[in-house]
């Protein structure tokens, strides 16, 4: 039995040696279930382990996301890796150190408190002893369960945590050394491609594999129901075979219930499952309401759009499956693969390997099954499968469209006395393993298309957390907790009819909800005749939110009452991500003449204890850039016939010429719990841009993206 109160990762993986192991070559293997998806988490985990063990970073050998060699920590998502995975690793390492230090003290005939550790060597009263971690029976000592009784180091003694150490992975990437999953070459490896139409959803009617089989280098053409894949000796041969197969196969017609122009009206017209998230009443406040305002905000389908299309490598040997994947959730992926293959879980091993940037549930899991299905056809030989760019656009699970209505009443003094938010969207979650015990279902595309198909697992919505205001999917950040809105009602309307496949994309519902809330705050400030910064501060009760907002405003040189000359505007916004994670505020300077372009962004961040300040700054800067891209440019185009954006010409993203000067200021609070930093930027950046646009031009655009066409239409 593990001790109560331990982080969930430790409860599920209580054995210390599952997290930390000492090797004969005087290195230390540190295993984490959290995986590198471009956010620098493995470096942060290494810093945490090095800190607790007092071992140099260079001695650590990191294992991350491996079903054969590391802990199951579920999914690397939700900006929770440091707060959850880091907490688990910290306690495991603290306990390892404690046990080893006790053993060393017994050998040396002193008290454990007489000892300290420097790079793995025990020092007694500051003088090196002959003993190190590696001289002790570490394997036996660490073959024990974490009790959670060994106290981690006090923050004041931190030497590695809190330092801006360089990322462990970037040297390889900057020098062009093989590092990515795409770069792994196994002996005898073949190249596979899947054959899926760029309209998504379409089903196969007829296909003749023979002409494809006869193409140069083609080793196998796999046809299983509506699943088609090609395998060739050379990559370009697989690409050519896929192209020809795609052309010759006949597909049925797609009929989607809506299109990109209509989807928000369509959402509102559908039956929905309605969930009252909060219904807080303050009758005294309600009675003071004098003027009522409401507005509707919308967000389109957005793609993850990693620069590298999804990739996997798989090998099937004697009914055992070995898979290399850049999935965020290698253990749930293993369970899903085993379900499809109808084998015990331990017949499938999934190793995480680094892929292109990951901003949520993308095609990584799907392509893993593709690779497994192809590898079955060439028993023993490994097959690498990478999706083509158009596969990624057509088949990745998108971030779904949303509609958000906000209604508020102001009293005679211009204070908000009632607040209601209603949100509509599909569920935001269709990852492997989330359907629980719903029978034999799979989240993986290929499974649905097999001759003996596995039913599609339901697209659900992440539930709210234990306090009722945090986590959630379409209602993430729908409740305003940084403001003192005691008379507040929030309802999530989940629509289960799915026009397009969707799942978790960075910030989930918080992007649209914070865009709506923080846009509406500016609209109300204008009605109340109060500066937007002052209006927020009047209603803001959370001191940490106030601190980031005031810092961002100060560093940006916020001036009250400045009128725009019509060429430039300024806007701000603030939120605490998921109502319990990182605090973020941003001031945007927007040029609007002739084109809409963010000229400068000044932000302030409070994520509590910071493991790696440069890592947090990198996440914040990158998150601001991506949010600008989403907000000014991005919208998946799709028609009822399934035709949709298939490449970067149809779906442009921000380029270097459109990237502003960015300043991020970090408020350090080492005494506070570490909060996630990965997703906090998205909603506030969107709203600050919309607010700057309103300041510049006097028009309020409530539909994302904030395009030139929409601005011109607003001038009507």
């Amino acid at each position: 039995m593990s001790a109560p109160g331990l982080p969930s990762g430790l409860k599920a993986n209580p054995r210390i040696s599952g997290w930390v192991r000492f090797n004969e070559d005087r290195t230390v293997t540190i295993a984490t279930g959290k995986v590198e998806i471009g956010q620098g988490i493995v470096t942060a985990m290494a810093q945490i382990a090095a800190e607790e063990l007092d071992v140099d970073l260079a001695r650590l050998r990191m294992v991350s996301g491996d079903t054969a060699a590391g802990p199951d920590e579920g999914i690397t998502s939700g900006s929770r890796s440091v707060s959850e995975g880091g907490a688990a690793l910290k306690l495991a390492c603290a306990e390892a150190r404690h046990l080893l230090q006790e053993a060393a003290a017994a050998r040396l005939g002193c008290a454990p408190s007489d000892l300290c550790v420097a790079d793995g060597v025990f020092l007694r009263d500051g003088i090196p002893t002959p003993l190190s971690y590696w001289d002790l029976p570490h394997a036996a000592l660490l073959n024990a369960e974490v009790r959670g009784t060994a106290a981690p180091k006090p923050v004041a003694q931190h030497q590695v945590v809190g330092q801006a150490v360089q990322r462990l992975d970037l040297s390889d990437k900057v020098m062009g050394r093989p590092r990515f999953l795409q770069d792994i070459e196994l002996p005898g490896m073949l190249f596979g491609r899947v054959v899926r139409p760029p309209t998504g959803e379409a089903r196969l009617l007829a296909f003749d594999p023979e002409p494809i089989q006869a193409m140069p280098g083609v080793v196998a053409v796999v046809v299983d129901g509506a699943f088609i894949g090609v395998i060739a000796e050379r990559e370009e041969q697989a690409v050519a075979a896929r192209a020809k197969a795609l052309k010759s196969a006949q597909w049925d017609h797609v009929a989607l219930p809506t299109d990109d122009g209509d989807v928000c009206d369509w959402l509102l017209a559908q039956p929905s499952v309605d969930k009252v998230v909060v219904d807080w009443r303050d009758e005294d406040a309600a009675a003071r309401g004098e003027r009522e305002f409401q507005a509707r905000y919308t967000k389109p389908y957005i793609v993850h759009g990693a620069i590298g299309p999804s990739c996997a490598l798989a090998r099937t040997v004697d009914g055992l499956y070995e898979v290399w994947s850049h999935s965020q959730s290698v253990f749930p992926l293993r369970r899903d693969l085993a379900t499809v293959l109808q084998v015990p879980h331990d017949h499938v091993v999934v190793h995480h390997a680094e892929g292109s940037g990951c901003y949520g549930h993308n095609g990584a899991d799907d392509v893993a099954l593709d690779a497994v299905l192809l590898s079955r056809a060439v028993a023993g030989r490994p097959v690498q499968v990478q999706w083509m760019r158009e596969d990624e656009f057509a088949w990745e699970p998108y971030g779904p469209a949303m509609v958000v209505d906000v209604r508020a009443e102001l009293d005679a003094e211009g204070a908000i006395v009632s607040w209601q938010l209603d949100g509509w969207s599909n569920g935001h979650l269709s990852r492997p393993g989330v359907a629980g015990n719903a029978g034999r279902v799979s989240s993986l595309i290929a499974a649905w298309h097999l001759a003996d198909p596995v039913a599609r697992s339901p697209q659900v919505d992440p539930p709210m957390g234990p306090h009722g205001v945090e986590h959630g999917g379409l209602s993430r950040n729908a409740v305003s907790t940084i403001y003192d809105f005691r008379n507040q009602k929030v309802v999530g309307h989940r629509v289960d009819e799915l026009p397009l496949r969707a799942s978790s994309l960075r910030a989930i519902g918080a992007y649209a909800n914070v865009f709506a809330i923080e846009s509406f705050m500016d609209e109300l400030a204008l009605e109340a005749g109060v500066d937007p910064l002052d209006f927020r501060l009047r209603h803001m009760k959370d001191p940490r939110a106030r601190a980031v907002l005031q810092l961002a405003a100060e560093r940006a040189g916020w001036e009250r009452g400045v009128e725009s000359d019509g060429t430039r505007g300024r806007g701000l916004a603030c939120a605490q991500y998921s109502n319990h994670l990182g605090y973020f505020a941003i001031v945007i300077d927007l040029d609007v003449d002739p084109d809409v372009r963010v000229a400068r962004a000044v932000a302030a961040v409070d994520v509590g204890l910071v493991v790696n300040p440069d890592g947090v700054l990198n996440q914040a800067e990158g998150g601001i850039v991506q949010a600008i891209s989403w907000t000014l440019k991005e919208q998946l185009r799709f028609g009822r016939d399934g035709e949709r954006s298939t490449n970067w010409e149809d779906y442009p993203i921000l380029d270097f010429t459109e990237v502003p000067e960015i300043e991020v200021h970090l408020i350090s609070r080492p005494e506070e719990e570490p909060l996630g930093s990965g997703e906090m930027t998205m909603g506030p950046t969107a709203a600050a841009i919309a607010n700057a646009l309103s300041h510049a031009l006097g028009v309020r655009i409530r539909d994302l993206p904030l395009t030139r066409e929409r601005i011109l239409a607003a001038f009507g």
Binding site: I37, G38, Q39, G40, Q166, R167, L170, S171, K173, V174, M175, G176, R177, P178, R179, F180, Q182, D183, E185, F191, P216, R234, E235, E236, V239, G305, A306, I307, G308, P309, E354, G355, S356, G357, C358, Y359, Q386, M388, R389, D614, N618, Q619, E621, G622, G623, I624, V625, Q626, S629, N647, W648, E649, I653, L654, D655, F656, T657, V659, E661, I662
Partner: protein, 155 residues
Amino acid sequence: MDDVTLLVNGAEHKVAAAPDTPLLYVLRNDLKLKGAKFGCGLGLCGACTVMIDGRKALSCDTPLWAAVGKQVTTIEGLAEDGVPHAVQDAFLAEQAAQCGYCTGGMVVAAAALLRENPQPSREEICTAMARNLCRCGAHPRIIRAIERAADALRP
């Protein structure tokens, strides 16, 4: 398939591939130079950027035959005698990446830019790099890294 001779990073290589094979696949799979990446196959993202005769080129969109008789330089060939290129040093110093998938293309494109324009303005950097896409938003750091490399190369 006849062997063709390709000059990559100063060394000759015999390659047995069809002449219309995208150079990217030859570099990655025949020569095992994995630094250039497949991003779109359409010449739209820059992840596959290499230099041909000193000018940047998109290897996913360049057939093998078009590279024959020319000098191909990949990210693996930027270092001289084991000393990283100034752009590589600067990318590390600025930690100018998140996932790093676009980084290989970025580094080569930046090196090509500095060959032609050793002291570019911020605007010139952004214009020159505009066809290299980054989804993680590492652009501000990449711009700083290129400015840092230009400083380091200043005679």
